[in-house]
Symmetry: C2
Subunit: 504 residues, 2 copies
């Protein structure tokens, strides 16, 4: 068989399986947005059926034959080789894990979730510890099946961000931590912090319909294409779908008008990435996101660097005041901008602002590393969490519910997932720095309501490449330098230092 | 292998395939309700992937082995035998049609749809005739593959309503036609007809939000379980889903407030049937609808016999007036009831009232019969249509757009589908007659807002049986007599004769 024919056949099989996987994704979206309360069991059966059909396609021997033939061919171009390498990665994951292991792990994930929910409600870490032990064992076994027995945590990290490993992340996080901890102390000690929080608290009674209208105008203005996507309501905001069918969600509360808006802008960042992937390559390495960290960089960039900027609010504030007359009148322009950039240390990661959020992630990364190395025993996790929280966030949880039991992730074995959030912040800051070098008057663009240059730059430098390059290479190509935390540090110092009048 | 084991395995495979099919149904629902305009191509790829995966499962040789073993066992009970027979029916359809025929037919269906849309826009039957020729040929070939070469139209009818054939339907329709044509002439000649239409026309400017509220209260009151279903908006109303996840749609227009309501009640009838199927048997003959005609009987019964009754409006009229104060004030109670039961012959089937609708169906059934027998050539269809329309509906279309080109069904080869609509009306009337024999004061129940007896009776006599019995047997069991048009005739004579003061 000619390589060209084999390649075309491989791409066809990969895209067909991807279409089936995205049908499964739609089931997931619908479950969060539309599912009648009584239909959970039926939906589970549909999910299982689509997942099983997808696994059947993704593991068919023909893919293995095509891969073997194509991997032996050194005449193929870089894009093709990336497609083949990613197909190999998926194929190995589909074929090297024994069926009974996959089933057992899925059951354990479901049991783990319920055990976690119970343990959290009862503040009973003892009821959760066996789940964590088991999930760590499953992660190690999974890594071993994929030939990574010697570095199971690296395997978990690489699952979410191809090419990344714990040593690289540790170096980045250590540098970030050294700068961030004192910055948070300075910012929160500033008298301005209380002014910002007080302004936030005055934003009450914002009608949902007007919130929806404003959010729609904002997300459209930054470039979300509603001909190829939509936004709905769910309990937790998320973004699903790809290409021409991107499904975002947000949630509305009258007394937290900035929450729905910034959630939606965050999801818009994810959505713009998915809408910007090359349509003809959807499902192959040329048409899927580079990884979790890069995905998060897109959402954070739009949410933080852009939508919390002065220029952005210079443009949107008049419309905001027009839509929310009496409610908006409780804050002046400076107070609004402070409310948008309020900083408050909290024990709870999901409530954290953009400065302290990174510290919550570093805490989790360090504990995951120590759990996988064996240095930290599960039984000692609560006390290790408390110590780390005190050191990093400056607060110590009074109970495990606000400590080690707060997150759902570990309950179904999603280790190595947290670091992507903080890496995403770093990447966003580095992309932002590079963009500002190329175009120095972005804030003026924003003040005119023009976000097109940023989107075009991201389309060309990030979205167009899909997963062709590893995370680190993609960022180096886009910014001309290795990924580093210094741009995030500089960005936070500049924005929050200025706003909270901290001396450097 | 023991029969019990084989049976359990068969049911498992059937239900698994059904779960995948319903995932495909959700893609269809979502396409009508949610799909962003730019996502049509992506959705088509998802549809194709799910359909292909489903076909792979539905045609797996293991099902054939199990069927062969189980069909040889005469110790199984009636319910089990029905499950096996229906699985055989599905398996034969999945395996006896060659893959290239199925693909060619799908392509022809898509081409046919677009050719029909163009021909209808241009009023050009000549551009549509080759499509019909081709679709007739495909229908004959399909019947031949399934061993029904000698009776292709019977095969098409049986596809929608297991066990029914053209001779049976012709006998029923001939009797109905003989009574219905003069009844329509009487009703439409009545001076009351214009009063009814004038009342309808005065119902204008009904706010959509209040329409939605009223519709929700009505559908809840008749028994739709919103914990196991929902209602949304689409261009054309439909009902999709099954069991604990039934998805209905309607559409709202301020100047046609009865349209959204009766569309929703119609779909509620379908939805109550799907919600009433035995959950543990979903996907097997014990947990799927008996057929199209019985399905339509459920929608028509709720829409017509029940929701156009005096008792129903005695209960709901006060709330209707409360919600639509000034708009509702344009009609008094009698006029509202006339508007609900307005009769007006029209050339267009989908605009027809419940009396004349049946004549539109009989017209199509007779033409389909003659097309399949070869008695009528496609080229002569427009003139045959005009003649039949004059004879049955009493109106002759001035062009083919309002005649033979009005329906989409034939464009993708859906012959034998129309009769189900009229059979559904007959079945509804016969069930209604039987219910009134058992419980004589149903109108009093309705006037109190109590619809529970009807729903319980339908649950026990129709829904609980799924597809265990053929259409004719199911109706005979439920009503104690063979299906006959006389109950429909009597019902229409009684309601419309009284209302329009026609002498019998």
């Amino acid at each position: 068989m000619r390589s060209r024919d084999a390649y075309v056949e491989l791409v066809n099989l990969v895209q067909r399986a991807h279409a089936l996987a995205t049908a499964g994704d739609l089931l997931g979206w619908d479950e969060q947005v539309n599912l009648p309360p009584g239909a959970a069991e039926q939906r589970a059966a549909q999910h299982a059926a689509v997942a099983e059909a997808h696994h059947g396609w993704a593991s068919q021997p023909r893919i293995g034959e095509l891969l073997a033939a194509l991997e032996a061919d050194d005449t193929l171009g870089g894009a093709e080789r990336a497609v083949i390498a990613n197909a190999r990665r998926d194929y190995d994951r589909a074929t090297k894990l024994p069926a009974d292991f996959v089933q057992e792990k899925a059951r354990q994930g479901s049991r783990g979730y319920h055990a976690w929910a119970r343990a959290k409600a009862a503040d009973d870490f003892g009821g959760y510890a066996p789940v964590l032990e088991k999930n760590l064992e499953f992660a190690r076994r999974e890594a071993a099946y994929l030939g990574k027995a010697e570095a199971p945590y690296d395997y978990m990290l690489d699952k979410h961000d191809p090419g990344l490993n714990a040593a690289t992340i540790a170096t980045l996080f250590d540098e970030l931590k050294g700068e961030l901890v004192p910055l948070v102390r300075e910012v929160t000690a500033s008298p301005v912090a209380e002014t910002a929080r007080a302004a936030s608290r005055r934003l009450r009674g914002f009608p949902i319909d007007a919130q929806r209208q404003f959010l729609r105008e904002v997300t459209t203005a930054v470039g979300f294409d509603y001909d190829c996507g939509r936004i709905d309501v769910s309990l937790h905001p998320f973004c699903s779908g790809t290409g021409a069918d991107v499904r975002m969600t947000t949630r509305y509360q009258e007394n937290q008008p900035l929450d729905a808006l910034f959630s939606a802008i965050h999801e818009t960042g994810h959505g713009l990435y998915e809408q910007g992937l090359p349509r003809e390559h959807l499902g192959t390495a040329r048409g899927i996101a580079a990884g979790m960290a890069v995905h998060e960089s897109q959402s954070r960039l739009w949410e933080n660097q852009i939508a919390r900027s002065r220029g952005f609010w210079r443009h949107f504030e008049p419309r905001w005041r027009q839509l929310f007359g009496s409610q908006a009148a409780t804050v002046d322009a400076d107070e609004l901008y402070l409310a948008v950039n309020a900083v408050e240390p909290t024990l709870i990661r999901v409530d954290a602002d953009e400065v302290t959020y990174n510290l919550h992630i570093i805490l989790r990364f360090e504990l995951e590393q120590r759990l996988f190395s064996g240095e930290l025993r599960v039984a000692d996790l609560p006390s290790a969490w408390r110590a780390a929280s005190r050191e990093l966030v400056g607060l110590e949880p009074a109970n495990d519910r606000e400590g080690v039991l707060q997150d759902v992730h570990w309950s179904d074995g999603a280790f190595g997932y947290f670091p992507s959030y903080c890496l995403g912040n770093m990447i966003a800051a580095q992309l932002w720095h590079r963009m500002q070098e190329v175009r120095t008057d972005l804030d003026t663009d924003f003040a005119k309501g023009d976000f097109s240059w940023v989107l075009r730059w991201l389309r060309e430098n990030i979205h167009a490449h899909g997963r062709r390059f590893g995370t680190m290479e993609l960022i180096k190509r886009a910014t001309g330098e290795e990924l580093s935390p210094r741009h995030l540090i500089a960005y936070l110092r500049e924005r929050y230092g200025e706003l909270y009048r901290c001396a450097k």
